[in-house]
């Protein structure tokens, strides 16, 4: 069980941030919205809170940027959006990932499954 968790963590690391970038590629989102959308994909996250350190890192490297916007109800929300650098990083990931995934599929035999 512990090894299974370690595997899931290892797979998540390095891929999850690009899932965030891809979601933001569709359009800007505020934190709660973004985190819940990712949280809905069970395989991707452990808990909503663990995504905030990741978002913080993406801000620091400049792949996402944030802006405060008024909300229809309640306090202003901080919206996350993809920067040009983030879009480039996402494009790069997409091509790398396809190559990587195909190679793993071939070697592991997951491409032969129906």
């Amino acid at each position: 069980m512990e090894q299974q968790t370690a595997l899931a963590t290892a797979l998540r690391r390095g891929t999850l941030e690009f899932c965030v970038l891809a979601l933001l590629g569709d359009g800007e989102r505020y934190g709660v919205e973004l985190v819940r959308e990712l949280g809905a994909e069970i395989a991707l996250t452990t808990s909503e809170g663990t995504l905030y350190p990741l978002l913080s890192r993406l801000r620091r490297v400049g792949w996402v940027t944030t802006s405060w916007q008024e909300s229809p109800a309640g306090p202003p929300r901080r919206y996350y959006s993809l920067t040009r650098e983030g879009a480039t990083a996402l494009d790069h990931f997409r091509s790398e990932w396809t190559t990587f995934r195909d190679a793993v599929d071939r070697v592991v035999g997951t491409d032969r499954r129906p």
Binding site: Y30, G31, V32, V35, G39, T46, S47, E48, G49, T50, Y52, P53, L54, L55, S56, R57, S71, A73, G74, P75, R77, R78
Partner: protein, 148 residues
């Protein structure tokens, strides 16, 4: 209302405590992000109940695992004192040059010693070997004469 606020404060307090070893800026960033999440999520509740707020906190998850995630991209030695840090690399680089010089000299010296020792060993081994090659030739004709 106050009991709900206390619930939130307790949660953020637990995060702060779990993240005591994070650099102050990372810890503050994390707390600000989580505080903002809670505030926004609470504002979306129409009638706010304690159970709803507990759900928000549950979904955020265990403070320790959130902090563990933040710790992962923390540099090994947080640059808490920039002034001290800027001096250390200079000292280190001059120390590195000295270490490199000493290492090169040491290796050269070691190579000389090794060559010398090897040479002595080789020649001292070879000399008796030359004698031994001669010895059977010298002793074999001597053997019949000794026995006879």
């Amino acid at each position: 209302m106050t009991s709900i606020d206390a619930l939130v404060d307790n949660y953020l307090g637990a995060v702060a405590q779990a993240g005591a070893d994070l650099s102050p800026q990372r810890r503050e960033d994390l707390l600000a992000d989580l505080r903002e999440h809670i505030t926004t999520a609470r504002a979306e509740l129409d009638p706010e109940t304690e159970a709803d707020v507990r759900t928000i906190l549950d979904r955020l998850g265990d403070p320790a695992s959130i902090v563990a995630e933040a710790r992962q991209d923390e540099p090994p030695q947080p640059a808490s004192t920039p002034a001290a840090n800027s001096q250390v690399p200079q000292r280190r680089s001059s120390a590195r040059v000295w270490i490199a010089v000493v290492a090169v000299l040491g290796v050269a010296l070691a190579a000389c010693i090794a060559a010398g020792v090897f040479g002595l060993f080789f020649f001292s081994k070879r000399e008796p070997h030359v004698e031994r090659v001669d010895a059977p030739g010298a002793s074999s004709p001597a053997q019949p004469s000794q026995t006879g």
